[in-house]
Amino acid sequence: MKGVRRDVLLHSRRALGRRRPEAGNPFLEGLVGIAIVSAVAVGFGIVGFIAAALTALFF
């Protein structure tokens, strides 16, 4: 990267639409990814339960 202007690098990165790769542990990132997916599924479950509770209340 030596000799390449920082603004040129930033511009090309933006032009490619890519972000700087994370430096974290890939295994831990993977586990966090799975936890997020699980949390979203549980979130949908909570929405479903609220819908079921409201339905049971009104029908």
């Binding site: 639409g17 890519r18 972000r19 790769p21 994370e22 974290g24 890939p26 990132e29 993977g30 586990l31 966090v32 990814g33 799975i34 997020i36 997916v37 699980s38 979203v40 599924a41 549980v42 949908f44 479950g45 929405v47 479903g48 339960f49 819908a51 079921a52 509770a53 339905t55 049971a56 009104f58 029908f59």
Partner: protein, 504 residues
């Protein structure tokens, strides 16, 4: 229309790659064969030995006789993908037929196509007495088909990255390259699947043991259910599907696995890289969230109106699980299939059909329209409305986010709406055949047709061992076409026409 007749070399290269895939289908039967050996299931072992030998002999003969170094072109890849899936299903049906649980080879083919395409519809007889090894084999078909059988096989055989595999990847209905080359993309997909396999199977096994299963059975069934859930398949080791376990915790773990399976591998990649914002910006996740919440609400309200379940917990467990199962393209059931038609009223089954038709994300193991196409079609519609409302010379540019910010182009919207239209026509066509060949009502015929085409697997009972042959063939074709998303099959038909009528 100008058609150029393929020459011998074109056919040679297609045959060569199909040979590799068939060899792979033979290798898939080795793990269940070893299980059959360990458990002294001699009939199943004989079936697997015959099936493996046949597939490997045919595959290797094709490879050796047709060996070529000519590069795979786009048309070759498409035709190879379409033919491979058909021939792989035929070859995979051999041990199933020899199990004695099918009354004809066509029935076995139905189940092998259903397994590979991760549909989950089944005409197998007496499932509850099927051997463990044969049950494992059915679920391995889900796993291989869900991950993409061509890519699974070819990346195992290829020593290094090959640009040629891209055309096969696209032909299999996957067009999202996560990594710069297909082999690295496939390896990432295996990594995700392997991590989920360890965690998902462990969680399922614990939940099943808590539900009362002995540890050995719990572990075996957890492995099978994991493959069916994460690959959005729908086969289960018992005829009563997930209702067999009567366990909220088992259903909870399965829900998470089905949801994970319906997310695109691209989204998994972004999450694994630490880019959590992608989950909220991605057009597909936004579309999927909207349709999932709307259809869950509709399904539960429909069940409430029909008076099928009155307790909030029952409403939630039956309604939510079924909608998730349908929307993710899995097809696990928590009640008897006939009840959708007899006890669920009108609105709830309509919500299930809508969820099945929409499906999950592109480049996942789910079927149906896919959320990206629904999102793109809606974005295109909004853009067109804006164009009408704004002055004629106004420049209307729409963008969407899918891993990167992208400009909505006319050809992108057109290809998305074309595929959606093809799915709709196939849904209706299958329903028509259902109406012609059975006494089913239109809603039931549509339910089953959508389930087959969108590779879901929920059934109102039309799919059975005594279903008409024409309908069975139609559903097999629908599962095949739905999995490959039509284009590879059109390419194969075009290739056939070119062979007959093309110019040299």
């Amino acid at each position: 229309m100008l058609l150029i007749r393929p020459d011998r070399d074109d056919l040679r290269i297609i045959g060569y790659y199909i040979g590799k895939i068939l060899t792979g289908v033979g290798l898939l039967q080795i793990p269940p064969a070893l299980l059959a050996l360990a458990r002294s299931e001699w009939n199943s072992l004989a079936a697997f030995v015959f099936g493996t030998s046949l597939a490997i002999i045919v595959g290797q003969s094709a490879e050796l006789r047709l060996h070529t170094r000519r590069p795979l072109e786009w048309s070759h890849g498409m035709v190879t993908a379409a033919l491979s899936w058909l021939l792989a299903a035929i070859m995979a049906a051999v041990p199933l037929y020899l199990s004695g649980h099918f009354s004809s080879f066509l029935d076995a083919l139905f189940d092998s196509m259903s397994g590979l395409t991760t549909s989950g519809l089944s005409v197998l007889q007496d499932l509850d007495h099927l051997t463990w090894s044969m049950n494992l084999y059915r679920h391995i078909l889900h796993f291989a088909g869900g991950q993409g059988i061509i890519i699974v096989v070819l990346t195992l055989f290829a020593a290094s990255g090959s640009a040629q595999l891209g055309t096969l990847y696209a032909g299999e209905g996957r067009d999202e390259r996560i990594m710069p080359n297909i082999i690295r993309t496939a390896r990432f997909i295996y990594t995700v699947a392997a991590v989920y396999l360890v965690l998902g199977t462990s969680a399922l096994a614990v939940a099943m043991m808590v539900a009362g299963l002995p540890p050995g059975s719990a572990l075996f069934e957890a492995v099978n259910i994991f493959m069916a859930a994460f690959d959005t398949g729908g086969f289960a080791p018992h005829s009563t599907s997930i209702a067999y376990y009567h366990s909220a915790s088992v259903e909870g773990v399965i829900t998470i696995l089905m949801f994970a399976g319906t997310l695109s591998f691209g989204l998994h990649h972004e999450l694994w890289r630490g880019d959590r914002r992608e989950l909220f910006r991605n057009l597909e996740t936004r579309t999927l969230t909207f349709t999932l919440v709307a259809l869950t609400a509709l399904g539960i309200v429909g069940l409430g109106r029909a008076g099928t379940f009155t307790e909030p917990l029952s409403l939630f467990r039956k309604g939510f699980f079924t909608i998730i199962s349908a929307h993710t393209g899995t097809g696990f059931a928590v009640n008897n299939s006939v009840l959708y038609a007899t006890d669920w009223g009108q609105l709830a089954p309509a919500a299930v059909v809508g969820a099945m038709a929409l499906g999950g994300m592109a480049s996942s193991t789910a079927g149906g329209f896919k959320a990206i196409r629904v999102g793109l079609s809606m974005k295109g519609l909004v853009r067109d409305i804006r164009k009408v409302l704004l002055p004629e010379n106004a420049l209307v540019v729409s963008t969407y986010h899918q891993r990167t910010r992208q400009i909505l182009r006319d050809d992108t919207v057109r290809s998305a709406t074309t595929i959606v239209l093809l799915f709709l026509l196939t849904y209706l066509g299958g329903a028509m055949v259902g109406l012609m060949t059975t006494d089913a009502a239109f809603t039931e015929a549509l339910f089953e047709s959508v389930s087959a085409t969108a590779n879901v697997g929920l059934s109102v009972g039309i799919t059975s061992p005594d279903m008409p042959v024409l309908l069975e063939l139609t559903y097999i074709a629908q599962m095949w076409a739905g999995r490959l998303e039509f284009m590879a099959i059109f390419a194969m038909v075009g290739y056939g026409l070119a062979l007959m009528r093309g110019r040299t």
